[in-house]
Symmetry: C2
Subunit: 152 residues, 2 copies
């Protein structure tokens, strides 16, 4: 289960926009430098976000990008879905599309539970939460536990 570079970059760009505020559009160059991601690559990602309605753009002189909605209303899941499609998939299918037989029958509810638990984080945390470093209680509690930081 991997978070792609696209998704990571997209969220980081969105966070820069959230921090910049609504009346201060940022150009690709600025964001790329601030977050240390390849400019041309980021260009394409921002474009996807625009098509997805997540950001709005303006060209020319004082142009750039800004968020298309208040950062309190945009979740990380929203961003990832726009640039990468479904949050969680099994063999390229969304879990409800699967079917199992024999001793594997209860595998479906398991994948469903995994997806629900991923949503419980990514679907609840907003850009505003991260930008101001105030993750929701429940999320913070998870991140706090030392065993969450250890690799198996």
């Amino acid at each position: 289960m991997r978070i792609s570079a696209r998704a990571d970059y997209a969220v980081r760009a969105a966070l820069e926009l959230a921090a910049a505020g609504d009346d201060c559009p940022l150009k690709t160059e600025r964001i790329a430098e601030a977050q240390g991601v390849p400019r041309k690559f980021l260009e394409g990602i921002l474009n996807d976000m625009r098509r997805g309605g997540l950001v709005v753009s303006r060209r020319g002189g004082q142009g750039g990008y800004k968020l298309g909605a208040p950062p309190e209303t945009i979740t990380v899941a929203d961003v990832i879905r726009v640039v990468d499609g479904p949050l969680v998939s099994v063999r390229g299918e969304r879990p409800p599309a699967l079917s199992y037989t024999g001793p594997a029958e209860s595998l479906l509810p398991l994948w469903i539970a995994v997806r629900a638990n991923v949503r419980a984080i990514l679907g609840e945390v907003t850009l505003a939460d991260i930008a101001r470093s105030e993750l929701p209680e429940r999320v913070y509690k998870l991140a706090e536990q030392p065993e969450s930081w250890t690799n198996p």
Copy 2:
């Protein structure tokens, strides 16, 4: 965040073995038919599981595969790690290897929380749980909620 075909197949094969019991080795052919997965592909997966110590094999006449440990002690996370590497990664790196700056600083604890929540499911549910269709309370509760089944 996708579960690969390898991982899905591996878990299903392991479940067949769990259901078969310790004194009844299954051959690749049997498992492939039972779960409807390509035989030759499954062969390679079972081999990885053997190298990872998850299953033991015997060739010849009454050969086949059986679990290398009681199914109550093997979690789904164990299986996935053996065939696919780390459970959760960001841009190919494990979360603790990342670092973020500016408004993205709190992105790291977020990824950590996601991983923790994935582990909370896949690292707790054992092959025995699934094979006998008795998922732990907490997991069952998640899978039960109707909104867990809806696509966004």
